[in-house]
């Protein structure tokens, strides 16, 4: 167990409701995320899991409820501010910059860390050049960490699916986030790839102390990795607690297996 390194609440969501027109996607959802933990969101398809992540990083603005991030309470997150204050994410359907190389993709993750101004950039001189080199070191570390040295210069559009998922993770890591939102990082992978990805997630959490919010369908993986799990179904919150507790919750079992009437 690693209870020792889980800290205070860093992100709290209170009574979040989100709807698109007449369709209620999230209904009164409340949960919190503690610093250093791996927090999973599970639920059947269409439960509202991805919407939840979109609310956290500011793509969606909920109609009701509040988000408290680092003690600051607000109605909604702003995409740019979320990224700037340490929330990075990956997407369910890989959203990489396909024409760019692995290296360049990961470099975009460092976008917010680059401080030289547009004029220095334009002439690529002095500070801009020095900075670029510093950031390259950091990016190389990430490439080593994710074991993707071989595909450094390959345009990501040409990579196999499993590698694309890794590059996307690398881009998120490059921002050195405090909270990492992973939307189905293992979807469509084979067992071996899943094991690799699980190992990366645990290592990121262990070595960098990064808080992770994870959406995943593979129950084995979720139960192994997570510290706490929140369960959604049709926009409603069914359960919230440690994996063992959630696993034995009758409502969760019903939602996943169906209830016989």
């Amino acid at each position: 167990m690693k209870e020792w390194k889980i800290g205070d609440v860093i992100l709290a969501l209170d009574n979040i409701s989100l709807s698109f027109g007449a369709m209620k996607v999230l209904n009164n959802i409340s949960f919190d995320v503690k610093k250093g933990e791996i927090r999973s969101i599970i639920g059947p398809n269409g439960a509202g899991k991805s919407s939840m992540l979109n609310v956290i990083n500011g793509f969606y603005h909920p109609q009701e409820g509040s988000i408290t991030f680092r003690g600051e309470k607000r109605k909604e997150m702003d995409v740019h501010k979320a990224a700037a204050s340490g929330i990075a994410r990956t997407f369910q359907n890989i959203a990489l910059f396909k024409g760019m190389s692995t290296l360049d993709n990961i470099m975009t993750g460092r976008n917010l860390k680059i401080k030289s101004n547009i004029f220095q950039q334009a002439v690529y001189w002095g500070k801009a050049q020095k900075e670029e080199i510093e950031h390259r070191y950091k990016v190389e570390e990430i490439i080593d960490f994710l074991e993707i040295q071989d595909i450094r210069k390959t345009p990501v559009g040409r990579l196999p699916y499993g590698f694309q998922k890794r590059v996307e993770l690398g881009r998120a890591l490059a921002a050195e986030p405090d909270i990492l939102l992973l939307d189905e990082p293992m979807a469509g992978m084979n067992v071996e790839e899943k094991e690799d990805m699980s190992r990366f997630i645990l290592d990121i959490n262990d070595e960098f102390g990064t808080t992770i919010v994870l959406i995943e369908h593979d129950m084995g993986v979720v139960m192994d990795l997570s510290d706490r799990v929140v369960v959604l179904d049709y926009g409603l919150q069914l359960a919230d607690g440690p994996p063992d507790e959630v696993r034995n919750n009758q409502k969760v079992i019903d939602a996943y297996l169906g209830v016989s009437h």
């Binding site: 959203a95 030289s116 690529y124 881009r171």
Partner: protein, 330 residues
């Protein structure tokens, strides 16, 4: 930029065609005037006028690279920039001040385009953004002429348009064309470096690929768009100055965009160096074909040569010489 072997072959084949055909023809018949200094004179003249096409094509490439959108309004931007420059100059501003003021105006145009049009269309299909640029084109065409009138205006940079003699008087080259080529060269080198090696350049390419992912790594979409449209406006201004001082500032400036199309198809829509090489090939090809090949088949090649070349490229190498290969995993 990695140069593939294919590209070298294509360029070599082109040179061979342009040199060997006229030379052979010259040897076979005495009706066609052929000597080497004259050949080079035509070739250099063509290359230099090709640079002028490249200047226009550059504006297209910039916006295409940074938003994945074919910007229909680039021709209108060229016209608008040139009109504003001449208009301000006629109001009594000295030329250098008018240039700086026009740069400011192009920035404001970029801000307006982002705020009023593109900003509302984040995450939309590229075709929708393309339609929006058609609207922008018509608006700028009309707006520029309402502001500054639709008369043909003179633009005089004080650079001689007279031909100069080079290489012991053997070859005749227009000084103004040399000047234009130098300007284009500087522009291209700086733009290529800017795109390849800087954070903003990378952010621009990122925005072109995926709006949502770009937002998630904290790239501010609206700033990026303003930057690109401003840069496209500045490149448009340079093109407008060069073309305007050649043929006068008038509505037909907007139509030179049509000449940029084959350049883009040849060079690739996503490549800044491609825009230059494409322009050079088309410029030189046009002139050489007109002077040396046209007499064999009855003349009038110059008008359509570029489009034929573009057509051949569309069939055999749709991504152009330097464009990104279209990769689709299925």
């Amino acid at each position: 930029m990695r140069i593939e072997r294919d590209i070298i072959y294509i360029i070599l084949a082109f040179i061979a065609l342009m040199v060997v055909v006229p030379w052979t023809a010259g040897q076979l018949s005495d009706q066609i005037f052929f000597n080497w200094p004259f050949f080079f004179e035509v070739a250099i003249g063509g290359l230099l006028s090709g640079v002028m096409y490249s200047l226009v094509a550059l504006g297209f490439v910039l916006i295409f690279k940074a938003s994945g959108v074919f910007n229909f309004s680039q021709g209108a931007i060229v016209l608008f920039a040139a009109l504003t420059l001449v208009g301000l100059h006629e109001l009594g501003l000295p030329m250098w001040l008018a240039m700086i003021a026009t740069m400011g105006v192009m920035y404001l145009v970029a801000v307006a385009i982002e705020k009023l049009v593109l900003g509302k269309l984040v995450n939309q299909e590229h075709i929708i953004l393309f339609m929006a640029t058609i609207g922008i084109a018509y608006f700028l065409d009309g707006f520029g002429q309402i502001l500054w009138g639709s008369d043909v205006k003179l633009l005089d940079l004080g650079i001689s348009q007279a031909p100069g003699f080079y290489f012991d008087g053997l070859i005749l080259i227009n000084d103004f064309d040399l000047f234009a080529a130098a300007v284009a060269g500087v522009l291209v080198i700086s733009l290529a470096i800017f795109f390849q090696y800087t954070r903003i350049g990378r952010a621009l390419r990122a925005v072109a690929d995926d709006h949502q992912a770009a937002l998630s790594v904290g790239i501010p979409l609206n700033h990026i768009w303003i930057i690109v449209w401003t840069v496209a406006g500045l490149v448009g201004l340079v093109a407008g100055i060069m073309w305007g001082s050649k043929m006068g500032v008038q509505f037909s400036l907007a139509l030179i965009a049509l000449k940029a199309l084959p350049v883009l198809i040849l060079g690739g829509f996503t490549s800044v160096p491609g825009a230059i090489i494409g322009g050079l090939i088309i410029g030189a090809g046009e002139k050489l074909a007109e002077v040396f090949i046209a007499p064999m088949i009855g003349g009038g090649i110059e008008e359509w040569f570029a489009y034929m070349l573009a057509l051949a490229f569309l069939v055999f190498r749709p991504q152009g010489l330097f464009g990104e290969k279209i990769i689709e995993r299925v």
